[in-house]
């Protein structure tokens, strides 16, 4: 559970559970994922995938987009398209990949590529349940685009017993950087 400094849940937060006593790495082959584009937004805005995952970028918007990233974890460009024109992109290095559209500067999306075996994204109410973790000690790594707290200050160490639910509550100490839900805009008539 991730809550802001006033105790309200924070959605779109990546939580990754890194084993403290084992080499990191996925347990199973990474699952492919989809980063959609609708209403001049990336949907979801925040995606977390395991290292080696392939991500499809369909454009289901009414207008064409040009997706790019210049993040060190993955540099790529998808020339102007609509629909399902381009093959999936493979993310083979851990790190944060910030997505943009060369036509619509306001479009920003995030793909968090992790080598942790367990990960997920919090629901709008701030909750996330990770299942089937093996017994052991873990570091919970937390990242969100609107979180102003330093990532290191949000790391939590937890101990997991087999078949025993463990909860962790992470409260942010700084205010979020922006409203989690940007206002809807009638962008179509604007430049």
């Amino acid at each position: 559970m991730v809550v802001d400094r006033d105790g309200r849940g924070v959605g779109e937060v990546v939580v990754a559970a890194v084993p403290a006593d084992a080499a990191p790495g996925p347990l199973t082959p990474p699952k492919p994922a989809v980063m959609d584009q609708r209403n001049r937004e990336f949907q979801p805005r925040v995606l977390v995938v395991g290292v080696g995952a392939s991500v499809d970028f369909p454009n289901n918007d009414t207008v064409s987009h040009q997706v790019y990233s210049f993040s060190p974890a993955k540099r790529f460009q998808l020339p102007l398209y609509k629909g399902q024109l381009h093959p999936p992109v493979t993310f083979d290095k851990p790190g944060l990949v910030v997505l943009g559209c060369n036509i619509h500067d306001a479009m920003v999306g995030y793909i968090y590529v992790t080598d942790a075996p367990y990960f997920g994204i919090t629901a709008p109410e701030g909750g996330l349940t990770l299942k089937d973790l093996r017994k052991g000690d873990y570091r919970l790594v937390i990242w969100g685009p609107y979180i102003a707290d330093a990532p290191a200050s949000l790391v939590r160490n937890v101990h997991i017993e087999a078949d025993e639910p463990t909860t962790a509550r992470v409260q942010l100490s700084l205010a979020l950087r922006a409203r989690p839900e940007p206002r809807p805009r009638r962008r179509d008539w604007e430049y």
Binding site: V63, S64, Q66, Y68, F70, S71, R75, Q77, P79, L80, Y81, K82, G83, L85, V98, G100, N102, I103, D105, V108, P145, Y146, R177, A178, R179, P182, R183, R186, D188, W189, E190, Y191
Partner: protein
């Protein structure tokens, strides 16, 4: 540039040629019909010195504007953009004309700085109010005095380069941009401000037409010296945007054409901010201050200072938007004796607008505007220098976007 008038057919050829590709060509269009009721003196467009677009002799059903805005994505990073306008108030000039025509180059960012260049004829990036296609306001029918004037007398005919720092990659939810442009063919800019002062009108000039009777044309190169502007913009999170611009057309105020057209040395700076403090509210303010001079002796023959500002509040909910704006403006002729009564204008106005979005294509807007002003040159037209003008408009706009 009269030969450039022949460009128009080429625009049409370009955007039909690329029609096979997916979204390579788009055409946005707007047909804007009005019902108008106005009070006050004859408008400048009709030969008077009124500040509004319409007047009591030009009321009733009117064509607000009709335009097509084709956009041709020639390559992945180069597109051609045009705005083709039609108005029904051209008395002797083109019924159809261009108001923008430019090449837009946007290379893919390879780092946090994104470069963009525009080449051709386009509006300068100064307004936070007129963000719609072809200098249309998103909030009201009639733009503020500041942005009315920019739309009337200015077009960048030249090249503009922008460097924009995209904060998202560094964890900052915002952008900072620096923009600079060099241009020509805008030497007469300033003449309308001296003749009429600031006005309130959603009738921007087109590239090959003029405004007024007889029409003044704004897009001529007279002194063969380029002008420039430089600006800064800052977007912070999703609720604050600030824009600053310094403009200087660098005209030689002594230059004139054989036909009697003068170069006006016009300089100004503009500062504006837009704040969206909550889901529904938008607050915008802009301040512009500058001066203009004409005559072979530099500042001696005619020199005028000017200033205009406005504050706007807009509330949007569901398909409705309500907007109120207060405008304040003045001009002050410091020297110059050959124009009769001095061009010293003072004025302020209130504008209220309610707009309703009906489905995908229709927008209905009701706007009421009242402006009180004092402008001594009206005495030469046997009018009182002080006037109160008002204008009520109902607009029905049909808007569409086609893509190939």
């Amino acid at each position: 540039m009269p030969s450039a008038r022949r460009l128009l057919p080429w625009v049409l050829v370009f955007w039909t040629a690329g029609a096979a590709a997916q979204d390579r060509v788009t055409v946005s269009g707007d047909l804007d019909l009005r019902w108008v009721q106005a009070s006050g003196v004859p408008a400048y467009l009709n030969g008077g010195l009124g500040l509004l677009r319409f007047d009591p002799d030009h009321e009733g059903i009117r064509l607000g504007r009709a335009f097509l805005a084709p956009n041709w994505r020639a390559t992945d990073i180069v597109s051609v953009h045009a705005v083709i306008d039609a108005y029904d108030d051209y008395h002797s000039r083109n019924a159809v004309d261009l108001s923008e025509f430019y090449l837009d180059v946007r290379p893919y960012p390879t780092g946090p700085i994104r470069w963009r260049a525009r080449l051709g004829a386009f509006f300068m990036p100064v307004s936070l109010e007129n963000r719609g296609i072809g200098w249309t306001s998103v909030y009201l029918i009639t733009p503020s005095a500041v942005n009315t004037w920019i739309g009337e007398e200015f077009r960048t005919i030249g090249a503009e380069v922008e460097a924009r720092w995209l904060g998202a990659s560094s964890g900052y939810l915002g952008e900072i941009a620096v923009v600079a442009a060099a241009y020509g063919w805008n030497d007469p800019a300033g003449v309308l401000l001296a003749e009429r002062g600031f006005g309130l009108s959603d009738r921007p000039s087109t590239l090959f037409g003029g405004l007024g009777r007889p029409p003044i044309e704004f897009y001529h190169e007279i002194d063969r010296k380029p002008g420039y502007y430089g600006g800064l913009s800052w977007k912070h999170h999703d609720w604050l945007e600030v824009r600053a611009l310094r403009y200087d057309n660098h005209a030689d105020p002594g230059a004139e054409t054989d036909a009697g057209g003068y170069a006006w040395r016009t300089r100004f700076y503009s500062l504006g901010a837009s704040v969206e403090p909550s889901e529904h509210w938008t607050l915008i303010a802009q301040y512009l201050n500058g001066n203009t001079a004409v005559g072979p002796d530099g500042n001696q023959q005619f020199y005028m200072r000017f200033h205009a500002d406005f504050a706007l509040a807009s509330y949007e909910w569901a398909r409705e938007r309500f907007t109120v704006r207060y405008d304040n403006f003045d001009t002050n002729q410091v020297s110059g004796f050959f124009f009769g009564p001095p061009s010293d204008e003072t004025g302020h106005s209130w504008t209220f607008a309610w707009s309703h979005q009906h489905g995908e294509h229709w927008q209905f807007v009701a706007e009421w505007l009242r402006v009180a002003s004092v402008f001594p040159p009206r005495i030469a037209l046997a009018e009182s220098a002080a006037q109160v003008e008002s204008q009520f408009q109902l607009a029905a706009r049909y808007r569409f976007r086609l893509a190939w």
